[in-house]
């Protein structure tokens, strides 16, 4: 793109320059009360420029490409005023192989096709024992990414994705699910049916007494807890003294059943990308191996500070450092869903996980759609909390499911924990 080439060319006189341009086309189709509601479509442009000179850096962003020059000047102005970094940052100088991964099936979806896919889910939910679909949304997003820096790196890739959310209600019960795919392998009727079933099973919940029980986290709840644990695996958390795992490399930090890996180039992984926000080639990083802490994910800055190599995990040019995951994968275990959930408190979703003190690990969160399951009988529970310590929780894994699912950056199976405190 002409604008980023110009910004790099003009910016060289001020120092090292990196520019990232994202152009995103999106169609959202919404449904309400079992019916189509509205359509929203458009394009969003974002140009970000980072200028670095010696120990100083500044970043500016604009949605107006014609303003690229002003954006560059702003970045330079901010750079000049900034406090010095601890070390001189480096720019990526290895060309990553650009890969275009537009899925043709997704590319061909227009408004009418998106409506028809959602109607499959809504139809099957509506056919289940009087359950209604209160809200649903389907989105198709196509993103063009361009990256350039003053080391001569020019790279780009495209990706597209379909996201689907459905919320079913009946009386005072709710079921919710979300699916996201880069290959359109979502079984819409099945998602509708399962969400309606979850809603129906949640009717007439009962109270229970405070006690300790085995807990199984369903996909969405497991994603939330893994997400919180994973803050401690980011190199910037470590450098800034915000990680419980600081200084624990090589030590056993969780149950040996847990293996966590970050994968940047996983086929059809939702967050797979050939290169990260600094243009560094993405790869595979082993983080926790059978319970032993093996490493962290790095961007160029944190890697240099730690005397390591970037793992291709820069999440943004906005801040330095800025580290995030690509696809964070919990290794599958061997348990079937039926086996893992029996005789447990089964939790579909958790409220309040974003408030967990991820460094100390202490938590108290409220389950949504929680059930006591005994010999295949599901009893819905109301108004409970589970509490404990995140690190103790992940040391108390009892078993891990064999089927994984990915709805965001985290791909996880079901996870069963021993002896969790439930407040009734």
């Amino acid at each position: 793109m002409e604008e980023i080439e110009l910004a790099i060319k003009q910016g060289r006189r001020y120092g090292d320059v990196e520019a990232k341009l994202t152009i995103e086309d999106e169609i959202d189709v919404s449904f309400e009360n079992n019916k189509f509601k509205d359509v929203n479509l458009g394009t969003t442009v974002n140009l970000g420029i980072r200028v670095t000179n010696g120990l100083k850096h500044g970043y500016a962003q604009t949605s107006n490409l014609k303003n690229w020059r002003r954006c560059l000047i702003n970045a330079v102005k901010l750079m000049k005023a900034s406090n010095p970094l601890a070390i001189k940052p480096v720019l990526n100088n290895n060309k990553a192989m650009p890969k275009s991964s537009l899925n043709k099936k997704i590319d061909g979806l227009g408004i009418n096709e998106l409506i028809s896919l959602s109607e499959q889910a809504i139809g099957s939910a509506n056919n289940f024992k009087g359950v209604g679909v209160s809200n649903s949304i389907i989105s198709k997003r196509t993103t063009n990414n361009y990256f350039s820096n003053s080391e001569g790196i020019n790279a780009n890739y495209k990706s597209n994705v379909v996201e689907f959310e459905i919320e079913c209600t009946k009386d005072f019960a709710k079921g919710y699910d979300t699916r996201c795919s880069r290959e359109l392998n979502i079984n819409f009727s099945d998602v509708g049916l399962k969400t309606a079933e979850l809603c129906f099973k949640s009717l007439n919940p009962i109270k229970i007494e405070t006690r300790r029980v085995p807990v199984v986290l369903d996909y969405l709840a497991a994603e939330n807890m893994i997400d919180t644990l994973a803050y401690n695996l980011l190199a910037d958390s470590v450098i800034e003294n915000r990680s419980f795992f600081k200084g624990k490399e090589g030590q056993k930090v969780t149950s040996e059943m847990l293996t966590l890996t970050d994968e940047g180039q996983l086929t059809n992984g939702l967050f797979s990308r050939p290169f990260d926000e600094e243009g560094t080639k993405t790869g595979r990083t082993l983080l926790i191996d059978n319970g032993v802490l093996r490493g962290f994910v790095y961007d160029l800055y944190t890697a240099k500070r730690a005397g390591r190599k970037s793992t291709g995990n820069c999440s943004s040019l906005i801040k330095r450092p800025s580290v995030g995951f690509n696809n964070l994968i919990v290794k599958a275990g061997s348990a079937s869903k039926e086996d893992i959930i029996d005789n447990s408190l089964f939790i579909n979703q958790l409220l309040g996980t974003h408030m967990i003190n991820y460094i100390s690990g202490d938590f108290s969160v409220s389950p949504n759609n929680a059930f006591l399951i005994k010999k295949g009988v599901w009893t819905p529970l109301k108004n409970i909390m589970i509490s404990g310590n995140l690190f103790e929780l992940f040391n108390n894994i009892e078993s891990i499911g064999r089927d994984q699912r990915q709805d965001n950056q985290i791909m996880t199976p079901l996870i069963r924990f021993k002896d969790v405190q439930v407040i009734g």
């Binding site: 929203n40 901010l78 005072f172 938590f363 409220s366 405190q421």
Partner: protein, 454 residues
């Protein structure tokens, strides 16, 4: 000008046509342990909304040279929509022309960057004496947003300037790690930052995080709980305000569905949504060009009103309330709160304390979530103290407040000391964040779940 002429050009082709333009400029200075990240942003987004046979079509872009195409796209999608949805919508809107602005005394974007950096450096230095403090993160945010709503007979512009300071402190001692967070915000200019006492606030935050290191775990279970003004604000915003949003009523995902006119809360409770209150949820017009008038949601415990955008007002045959808001013109307006206001009650703080034999006092919040269908809530307290025999005793850490909204509302005593939160609060709904505020007093909840580590 081009947008006005396109409104004229295409107005005849549909039942209603409007465009919302947002032109914003901002600056964020993030300082973590002395390392700064300086960020500037400059955005222009416009969104066109067309109504055809009761159906909306929306299209948006950042590029004004493509405006004609964007108008056509909005019209086309409204027409396509009308193949799938048959309904009638009546757009009830008064023609308005107005220009409103919050004139800052000092434009925060023209202040010397070195002055801002100096303030943040000094803030950080205040923590240097205590080796238990491991991480200090200060963020100074300045924003200017100009929003322009245009329809065939309305042309409204409102300009807002906002400054905020956010701080997060982490401390550790003997293997225990604690953190604390606070934000301070005003709609207005840099004069707020000039008058802000960084040293005093740094000391308060340092004291608080060190206190948390020494704090005990709470006793888990059901207890009477006193909430300070900000936790009360969070509860009434999240658990009650959202339940009054008319889209949730229409989809029957609110605990208040079908309950208008019923006693849903203690007679001590009168709750308003009021965009005119001087807190961070202030505005003159909503994003659909409706004058912001304010609404009474609960009057002496009786549910009296819902919050509407143009669509929900028409579908429920009620008046628009000026609550149709968007994060950016690229979204459809949803019914959203502005400032949540709980009217002053009769209890002084000391009187509320005396009511509690064994319970907790929660101050500030880390965040909160509510299941709108069941009304179950979970709020994280920033600080918590146990109350023993009507007196505040020792601090507790990592405390969560849980319960069910409908049960809780009936068991509340309302304090006589409301004040605006002045936090940099944003509320998220359907992936859209809008700025909100509140003005609430202390309350006493007769029974709530206190969670924490066992």
């Amino acid at each position: 000008m081009i947008l006005k002429s396109l409104i004229k050009k295409y107005s005849e082709d549909c039942d209603y046509l409007s465009v919302l333009v947002s032109d914003s400029e901002g600056q964020v200075i993030n300082m973590e342990n002395g390392v700064s990240s300086l960020i500037s942003n400059n955005d222009l987004t416009y969104g066109v909304r067309a109504l055809y046979k009761g159906c909306w079509g929306v299209s948006y872009s950042n590029d004004l040279s493509k405006a004609d195409k964007i108008f056509k796209q909005a019209l086309d999608s409204a027409r396509t929509s009308s193949n799938y949805l048959k309904r009638e919508l009546r757009i009830e809107q008064t023609a308005l022309k107005s220009f409103k602005t919050i004139k800052p005394k000092i434009d925060p974007l023209s202040v010397d960057l070195n002055d801002k950096i100096k303030k943040l450096n000094e803030f950080e230095k205040s923590f240097k004496n205590d080796s238990r403090i491991k991480n200090v993160n200060g963020v100074l945010v300045s924003n200017k947003i100009k929003s322009n709503f245009i329809s065939i007979d309305s042309d409204l512009t409102q300009e807002f300037t906002k400054v905020a300071f956010r701080a997060a402190i982490t401390a550790s001692d003997k293997g225990l790690i604690q953190n604390t967070f606070k934000s301070y915000a005003r709609l207005g200019g840099y004069e707020f930052i000039e008058s802000f006492n960084f040293n005093k606030n740094a000391k308060e935050l340092a004291d608080k995080v060190i206190m948390l290191l020494k704090a005990k775990q709470p006793k888990l279970g059901r207890f009477p709980v006193i909430c300070d003004d900000t936790m009360t604000g969070l509860f009434f915003h999240e658990a009650v305000g959202h339940a009054c949003e008319a889209d949730a009523i229409l989809t029957k995902t609110s605990i208040f569905t079908g309950k208008k006119g019923e006693q849903v809360a203690s007679p001590e409770i009168t709750l308003l949504d009021d965009p005119s209150v001087d807190d961070t949820g202030f505005y003159w017009f909503d994003d659909e060009g409706v004058k912001a008038a304010g609404s009474t949601l609960i009057k002496r415990g009786v549910l009296t009103g819902y919050l509407h955008n143009l669509t929900t007002a028409s579908l429920m045959n009620e008046k628009p309330t000026g609550n149709g808001r968007v994060e950016s013109p690229s979204y459809l307006p949803l019914p959203r709160m502005s400032n949540t206001v709980l009217k002053k009650g009769s209890w002084s703080f000391d009187e509320l304390l005396k009511e509690v034999k064994r319970g907790y006092y929660v101050k500030g919040f880390k965040g909160g979530e509510v299941d709108p269908v069941t009304g179950d809530f979970n709020f994280g307290a920033s600080e918590c103290f146990s109350i023993i025999k009507g007196e505040i005793a020792g601090p507790c850490r990592d405390v969560t407040l849980g319960g069910n909204t409908l049960l809780t509302l009936k068991n509340i005593k309302v304090g006589n000391d409301p004040k605006p939160s002045r936090l940099s609060s944003y509320c998220g709904k359907n992936n859209q964040d809008v700025r909100v505020g509140d003005k609430c007093p202390h309350i006493l909840i007769k029974e709530a779940i206190i969670g924490g580590r066992d």
